[in-house]
């Protein structure tokens, strides 16, 4: 059993609990190939796809702003069988539900893919120009990846990729520890950006970032702050474990990174500075010697 497996089970159980409480669940399956995922997206994904800052006046939906509550959970396991590969789950309202209700996740499930009609887009555009303020939802994002060869090192790199805001058109993400605050632009919403889009975009980006990923499953929760608070507590525990892993890995390499203060305020800074100067001199000497030998 891997270190985060109990949390994969906990998160899955929590989703089941919410469904048992009568909360509406919407599920869509992403196609297995990367090309198929990318091909079906209504927006661009990749470097420079996003325009950067999305102001509230250009926002169609705001997810997880500090008042509404948010959390971001990222988990990995070496057992792909623990996940349902390609599954995107939404609990709570979808992005399209915020202005207009005829583009729902349910349609995605029944039709097998979201291709909004011209009429839908027209209605969405009208709604977006009319709406003076963006709708705001509490937001939890749970990403679970699996791969037999995935390592803790892969996890650390992938973890930073879960908030890849600048790589998705019409989507801006700002994050702080386990909190995630994002905005979907009116333009992206008019193009049909839903949680299916976000889920698929994240899957495409994560799979491209690490081919060792064999299975990936994503869940979004937009129900209420209470549900988010429970998941946020999981996120805090997961982060603590994750930090411990990093610390232990550095210890194995001979470094103790459990330092209670930074260099600027450390009494021993002059000692380290002297050592650093000595090291610089040593490196200079080594370079000189190397150059001399090459001649």
């Amino acid at each position: 059993m891997d270190v985060f497996d109990p949390y994969i089970i906990k998160c899955t159980n929590k989703i089941d609990e919410m469904v048992a409480d009568g909360k509406k669940i919407r599920v869509v399956m992403a196609p297995p190939s990367l090309d198929e995922i990318r091909g079906g997206l209504p927006i661009a994904v990749g470097p420079a796809a996003s325009q950067g800052v999305i102001l509230r006046s250009d926002t169609f939906v705001e997810l997880g702003n500090p008042e509404a509550g948010s959390c971001s959970i990222f988990l990995y396991t070496s057992q792909p069988s623990l996940l349902c590969n390609g599954r995107i789950t939404l609990l709570g309202p979808d992005i399209s539900d915020s202005g207009i209700s005829n583009l729902t996740f349910d349609e995605v499930v029944t039709s097998g893919g979201l291709h909004s009609s011209d009429q839908d887009l027209e209605l969405l555009e009208k709604a977006s120009h009319r709406a003076p303020a963006a709708k705001s939802f509490p937001f939890a994002q749970i990403i679970m990846v699996a791969g037999k060869n995935l390592s803790e090192n892969d996890y650390e790199i992938l973890k930073t990729n879960q908030i890849i805001g600048d790589l998705i058109e019409g989507y801006m993400v700002r994050s702080f520890t386990q909190n995630i605050w994002s905005r979907v632009s009116r333009e992206a919403a008019a193009k049909g950006f839903t949680f299916e889009t976000l889920g698929k975009a994240l899957m495409a980006l994560l799979k491209s970032a690490n081919p060792k990923i064999e299975a990936i499953e994503i869940a979004f929760v937009t129900t209420n702050k209470h549900d988010i608070d429970i998941l946020e507590e999981y996120a805090r525990q997961i982060q603590k474990i994750s930090k411990e892993i990093v610390k232990e890995n550095w210890k194995i390499k001979g470094y103790d990174i459990e330092c209670a203060s930074d260099c600027a305020s450390c009494d021993d800074k002059p000692v380290c500075d002297t050592i650093r100067d000595v090291l610089k001199e040593k490196m200079k000497e080594a370079r000189k010697l190397k150059n001399h030998k090459q001649k």
């Binding site: 950067g52 800052v53 700002r174 930074d262």
Partner: protein, 259 residues
């Protein structure tokens, strides 16, 4: 990831970044509020309005409230970094834009950012540099920036952005306001400076030192004073208010009514 000075400058190179400076009490905040309204009405939208007065005059002058400030973000960053808080310095730096976004009061045509007052003693140039870089990224989302500054321009360069390209210096009938103007003129390209005389009479103007050209005069106005006393938003002043009209006319005369 940090940006070089050039990258940072590129983000903000094409938008008007206006600073309103002058001695304390000359009427910078009233002018900034009226100028903000005119700029927005003339299509400079979205406009980022920065209240660089530590006690937050501009925020209330336009009827807004700012719970969080940029100084608060800076203090949090310094304190986290100094005390080995729950974040490493790198993590704290990576999250600065989250906190700046959280400090923004966002409205349809404009956003408001209050500088506030820092509680951390010390220079912290590197923290300021990171903040400026994060600010430049935010600024790039706006059509223009209007900063109600403290007396001089140096605080803006240090705390907000080094890209100010237009400086309004407000003077009144006092010699000290002229002294402040001279000090600012020593720091800024003279072609970027526009001098506005506030609450001044024609007789007072005659006493100005030679060589000082005033772009316009804003008369003392009882309604503005009344709005100020009652804490009402200056954006609710009637369109035909004398002071508002004066600012409007000055902007027309210097061709800044439609930037």
């Amino acid at each position: 990831m940090t940006m070089s000075g050039n990258e940072s400058a590129k983000l903000t190179a094409n938008i008007p970044i206006i600073s309103v400076c002058g001695k304390g009490g000359v009427g910078k905040t009233v002018f900034s509020a009226l100028l903000g309204r005119i700029l927005i009405e003339n299509g400079l939208s979205p406009l980022l309005m920065v209240d660089a007065d530590p006690v937050g005059g501009l925020v209330s002058a336009i009827g807004e409230k700012a719970v969080k400030t940029l100084s608060g973000v800076r203090d949090m960053f310094i304190s986290e970094t100094r005390n080995g808080g729950k974040l490493s310095a790198k993590e704290a730096a990576d999250h600065l834009d989250y906190f700046i976004l959280n400090a923004l009061v966002e409205r349809k045509d404009f956003s408001m950012l209050a500088m506030g007052r820092t509680t951390e003693k010390g220079c912290f140039c590197s923290a300021n540099k990171l903040l400026r870089q994060a600010m430049d990224k935010i600024i790039s989302a706006y059509a223009g920036v209007l900063i109600d500054a403290e007396a001089g321009i140096e605080q803006i360069n240090r705390d907000v952005t080094s890209q100010v390209n237009r400086v309004f210096v407000i003077i009144d009938a006092s010699q000290r306001s002229i002294d402040t103007l001279n000090a600012i003129a020593g720091m800024v390209d003279p072609s970027q400076i526009t001098i506005i005389a506030n609450r001044i009479t024609t007789e007072d103007l005659l006493n100005l030192p030679t060589g000082i050209k005033v772009a316009g005069v804003i008369p003392a106005n009882e309604t503005v004073r009344q709005f100020d006393r009652e804490g009402r938003s200056l954006w609710q002043l009637p369109d035909d208010n004398e002071a508002f009209m004066a600012v409007k006319n000055i902007m027309k005369s210097i061709n800044l009514s439609n930037p």
